[in-house]
C-alpha cells in the first residue's frame, strides 16, 4: 500500500515535469480560437469589401444637363398645376426638343433613337420640378436628367465600343450622340437621386428603394406592436404567474418548437388565416407585419423568459417582504430589471424579421410595387424582396443597384443592432 502514496517531492516533480505540456495545451487552445476568429474575420472582410466594391457604383449614375424651356402652356395646359393637367402636358416632348437642339438628329430613325437616350422618367422629373417651384415657368433653365440604363452601362465601360454593332445594345448612331454630349461637357457622373428617392421601376436608371424602405418600416412597426406586448406578457405569465404543471410544460415545449419552424410555413398560415378567412387584401404591410410577428414571437418569448429568470430572487423576496402585491412585484421590479434583456431579444427578432422574404411570398408582398405605401393598408414590399426582385431583372444596371440595396439593408441591420447594444449598456444593471 505504501508504494501507492506519492511523497511530496515526487509529486512536485511530476507537476513540474508536466507544466510545459499543460502550458503547450493552453497555448494550442488559444491558437485554435485565434484561427477560428481569424477565419470569421477574413470572411466578414471579404463579404463586406466585395459588397461595398460592387455596390458603391450603384449609388452613382450618369446625368445629362439640358436647357429646358419652361413653357407654361405646354407643360401645364389647364394652368392649375394639378396632376391631371401636368399629365396631359407635353413634358416629354419639351425634354426631347431640348436634346435635339444639341445633338441635332437627322431623320425619323435617328430621332426615335435619340428620344430613348434620356430616361423615360424625364416627364415626371420635369413635372415634379415645376410643382415644387412654379417660378421656373417662363424661364430657360438647365436641368439634369438621368441617362438611359444602356448608355449608363456604355459610359461605365460595361458595353464596349469595340464590340460589333450587331451585338451591342446601343447603335453607332447613339454612341456618336453620346460623344457629342460629352464633348460639350453635358454628361456628369453624380450621386444618384433615384436610389434613395425612387421606387421600384422597370427602368433601372430610375429604380430606388424608397417604396421598399417605407414598406419595411411599416411592416416592422406592425410586427413590433403585436409581437412585443404579446411576447412579454407570455413570458411574464409563464415565469411569474403560471404554476409549473403538465400544461405549462407542454406550452413551453411548443414555444421552443415554434422557434424552429421554417419561416415559409408562417406565410402559408398567414395566407390561410388573414387573407382567406379574415378577407384582408393581399400585398399589404399589415398582413406582412402580422405574419412576421408570429414568426418573431417565440424568439421574444424565449429571450424575455431568460431575462426574467436572471432577475435575482432576492429582489422579489425583498419586495414581497415589504408587502408588495404580485402585480407590484412584477411591474415595479421584475419587468424594469428584465427590460434590457427583453429589448435585446426583441431587436434581434426584429432584425431577423427585416431580412425575411419567404413568409411574404405567400401573402403577395414579393411583387413589383411602384407606389410608396402611405399606410399599413397600401400595397407594399420590403427591402430584401426588392433586392430579390432586382437580382432577377434582365437589365445590366440592376446588378449594381442590387448591391447598393444590399448595402442599405446591411446599414439598416447594423444600426438596429447598434441600438440594441446601446440600450443594453444604458439600461443594464449589475449586482
Amino acid at each position: 500500500m505504501n508504494n501507492k502514496l506519492i511523497n511530496p517531492t515526487r509529486a512536485s516533480e511530476i507537476v513540474r515535469n508536466s507544466i510545459a505540456k499543460r502550458r503547450a495545451k493552453d497555448n494550442r487552445l488559444k491558437l485554435y480560437g485565434r484561427i477560428a476568429i481569424g477565419f470569421a474575420v477574413c470572411f466578414l472582410i471579404f463579404l463586406f469589401s466585395s459588397i461595398f466594391i460592387k455596390g458603391y457604383p450603384g449609388f452613382f449614375q450618369y446625368y445629362v444637363t439640358l436647357d429646358i424651356n419652361f413653357d407654361r402652356e405646354r407643360i401645364d395646359p389647364q394652368g392649375d398645376l394639378s396632376d391631371n393637367s401636368l399629365f396631359n402636358g407635353e413634358a416629354s416632348k419639351i425634354v426631347n426638343e431640348a436634346l435635339f437642339t444639341i445633338i441635332d438628329p437627322k431623320g425619323r430613325k435617328a430621332k426615335k433613337q435619340a428620344k430613348k437616350m434620356v430616361s423615360s422618367g424625364k416627364d415626371v422629373r420635369l413635372t415634379n420640378l415645376v410643382k415644387s417651384n412654379p417660378n421656373l415657368f417662363g424661364t430657360i433653365s438647365s436641368v439634369k436628367f438621368a441617362l438611359d440604363d444602356d448608355i449608363d452601362s456604355f459610359l461605365r465601360g460595361y458595353i464596349k465600343r469595340e464590340t460589333p454593332e450587331s451585338e451591342r445594345r446601343i447603335s453607332d448612331q447613339i454612341i456618336k450622340f453620346v460623344d457629342k454630349l460629352d464633348k460639350e461637357g453635358r454628361i456628369s457622373y453624380e450621386f444618384s437621386d433615384y436610389i434613395l428617392n425612387g421606387s421600384a421601376s422597370g427602368n433601372p436608371e430610375m429604380a430606388g428603394i424608397k417604396g421598399a424602405f417605407f414598406g419595411s418600416i411599416l411592416t416592422l412597426s406592425v410586427c413590433l406592436l403585436i409581437a412585443f406586448p404579446l411576447g412579454v406578457a407570455t413570458a411574464v405569465y409563464l415565469e411569474e404567474v403560471a404554476k409549473k404543471n403538465k400544461i405549462t410544460e407542454l406550452i413551453e415545449v411548443n414555444i421552443n418548437n415554434l422557434a424552429a419552424v421554417p419561416s415559409v410555413v408562417f406565410g402559408i398560415m398567414g395566407l390561410a388565416i388573414f387573407i382567406s378567412i379574415f378577407g384582408m387584401p393581399r400585398s399589404i404591410p399589415l398582413v406582412g407585419g402580422m405574419v412576421l410577428a408570429l414568426m418573431t414571437l417565440p424568439t421574444i418569448i424565449i429571450s424575455s423568459r431568460a431575462a426574467i429568470r436572471a432577475v435575482p430572487p432576492s429582489v422579489r423576496d425583498a419586495a414581497y417582504g415589504i408587502g408588495a402585491s404580485k402585480l407590484q412585484v412584477i411591474f415595479h421590479h421584475v419587468i424594469p430589471l428584465a427590460m434590457p434583456g427583453m429589448l435585446t431579444g426583441t431587436i434581434i427578432g426584429m432584425a431577423q424579421a427585416l431580412g425575411e422574404t419567404a413568409p411574404l411570398l405567400m401573402i403577395g408582398m414579393v411583387a413589383f410595387i411602384v407606389d410608396v405605401p402611405n399606410s399599413v393598408m397600401d400595397p407594399g414590399t420590403v427591402l430584401p424582396v426588392q433586392i430579390f426582385m432586382w437580382a432577377d431583372f434582365a437589365e445590366r444596371m440592376f446588378i449594381q443597384k442590387t448591391s447598393a440595396a444590399i448595402i442599405i439593408l446591411l446599414g439598416f441591420l447594423i444600426s438596429m443592432n447598434a441600438f440594441a447594444i446601446y440600450l443594453r449598456k444604458k439600461l443594464e444593471r449589475r449586482w
Binding site: F278, F368, A391, D392
Partner: protein
C-alpha cells in the same frame, strides 16, 4: 398598463377597419417571362394620376393561371399572366369556382438554348435537342432512361462535350412550352424511331415525352433566369434554357444555339422562322372589371406599347402581327368568355 391598452386598441382598430377595405389597386401574378413586360405596362398606367400602379407578382405561369381561377372577390388576383396557354383542365378549375375569363394574347417570346461566347456554338436540329433532354428514349424498341452523356453521342456532328443544361422548374411556362415544342413535337413527333415507339406504347401524341431528364444532366435553376445567365458566364461548357429577352440583354457575352438552321434573332422569331417560340397571355377575370378600378385602362395600356416600335419590343418581347393585334384589341372591349372549345382550336 395604459400603454398596453392603447396598443391593443390601435391594433384591433386596424383589424376591424380592414374588413370593410375594398382594394383599389390592380393585382396581377404569374409568369416570370411576362413579368418584365407587365411591369413596364403597369408603370406606364401608374403615371396616370387617376390610377394606382398595379401590383405585379411573379411565381410562374401555373401560379398565374391557378391564382386567377381561385375564386371571385378582392382577396384574389384580378389578372393572371402566363407564358403557356391555359389547358382545359385549368379552365375546368375556373368554371368550378365560377370565374369567367377573357384571354388576351400580347406577343411572343422565343425560348433560346444559349451558352457563353467562350464555349462552342451549338448547331442542332430540334429533334436532336429533344433527344438530349427527354427523360426516356427508345433503344431497340424499349423505352429506357436517357443514356446520353455527351452531345456527340446523339449525333457525331455535335460537339464532343458533356451535356449540361440549366433550365426553369416545373412551375414555369417556359419549361412547359419547351417540353411541348422540343421534346414532344420536335423529338417524338419528328424522329422516326421515337414516333413509332410512342405509337407502340399507346401515346400517339407523344405527351409522355414531355418529361425532362432528372439524372443531373438537366439542372433546374429556379424561376430566376438571371441566375442561369450568371452561371453560363462562369461555366462555359454548359447551356441554359430561358426567354429571348435575357439573350437580347446579354448579347455581348452569350450566344443562342442555332436550332434547325435558324438562329434565335428578333427578326427570325417575329417572322415565325424560329420554331421554339410561344405566345404570351394574360387572363382577365370578368367579375372584377368595374369592381377594381383600372382593369380596362390596364388592358388599353398594352395596346399603346405592344407594337414593333413600342417599349415592349425594346425590352425583348416579340410583337404580334397587325391582324392579331387588332383581334385582341377588340377582345379587350367585347370581352368574350373563354370556353373549352376556344382552347381546343
Amino acid at each position: 398598463m395604459k400603454k398596453t391598452l392603447l396598443v391593443t386598441g390601435i391594433i384591433s382598430g386596424i383589424l376591424i377597419s380592414s374588413y370593410s377595405h375594398a382594394r383599389d389597386t390592380l393585382s396581377l401574378a404569374g409568369s416570370s417571362t411576362v413579368l418584365p413586360f407587365a411591369r413596364i405596362v403597369a408603370e406606364q398606367l401608374g403615371k396616370n394620376p387617376n390610377f394606382k400602379t398595379p401590383v405585379v407578382e411573379s411565381g410562374g405561369s401555373s401560379v398565374g393561371k391557378k391564382g386567377v381561377c381561385d375564386g371571385v372577390g378582392t382577396k384574389f388576383i384580378d389578372i393572371g399572366n402566363a407564358s403557356s396557354r391555359m389547358k382545359v383542365k385549368e379552365l375546368d378549375y375556373c368554371n368550378k369556382n365560377g370565374v369567367k375569363l377573357t384571354e388576351i394574347k400580347v406577343g411572343y417570346d422565343g425560348i433560346v438554348v444559349a451558352n457563353s461566347k467562350k464555349g462552342t456554338l451549338l448547331k442542332i436540329s430540334k429533334s436532336d435537342l429533344g433527344k438530349a433532354l427527354t427523360a426516356e428514349v427508345p433503344i431497340n424498341g424499349k423505352w429506357v432512361k436517357n443514356p446520353y452523356k455527351k452531345w456527340s453521342e446523339i449525333n457525331p456532328s455535335l460537339p464532343n462535350i458533356e451535356i449540361r443544361v440549366y433550365g426553369p422548374p416545373t412551375t414555369s411556362g417556359t419549361r412547359a412550352s419547351y417540353a411541348e415544342m422540343v421534346n414532344q413535337k420536335g423529338y417524338c413527333g419528328k424522329d422516326k424511331i421515337a414516333k413509332a415507339a410512342s405509337k407502340e406504347r399507346g401515346d400517339k401524341k407523344g405527351k409522355k415525352c414531355r418529361a425532362m431528364r432528372t439524372d443531373g444532366v438537366f439542372i433546374e435553376a429556379g424561376e430566376q433566369d438571371n441566375l442561369i445567365v450568371q452561371k453560363l458566364n462562369e461555366d462555359t461548357g454548359a447551356y441554359g434554357i430561358f426567354g429571348f429577352s435575357y439573350l437580347d440583354q446579354n448579347s455581348d457575352t452569350l450566344q443562342g444555339a442555332v436550332i434547325s438552321n435558324t438562329a434565335p434573332t428578333f427578326e427570325n422569331i417575329a417572322g415565325n422562322n424560329y420554331s421554339v417560340s410561344r405566345a404570351l397571355y394574360y387572363y382577365v377575370k370578368h367579375q372584377h372589371i368595374n369592381v377594381v378600378p383600372g382593369i380596362k385602362e390596364y388592358m388599353a395600356e398594352w395596346t399603346k406599347h405592344w407594337g414593333s416600335e413600342g417599349v415592349l419590343s425594346d425590352a425583348g418581347m416579340i410583337p404580334m402581327p397587325d391582324a392579331e393585334r387588332a383581334k385582341y384589341k377588340d377582345a379587350m372591349t367585347s370581352l368574350p368568355v373563354l370556353t373549352a372549345a376556344d382552347l381546343k382550336k
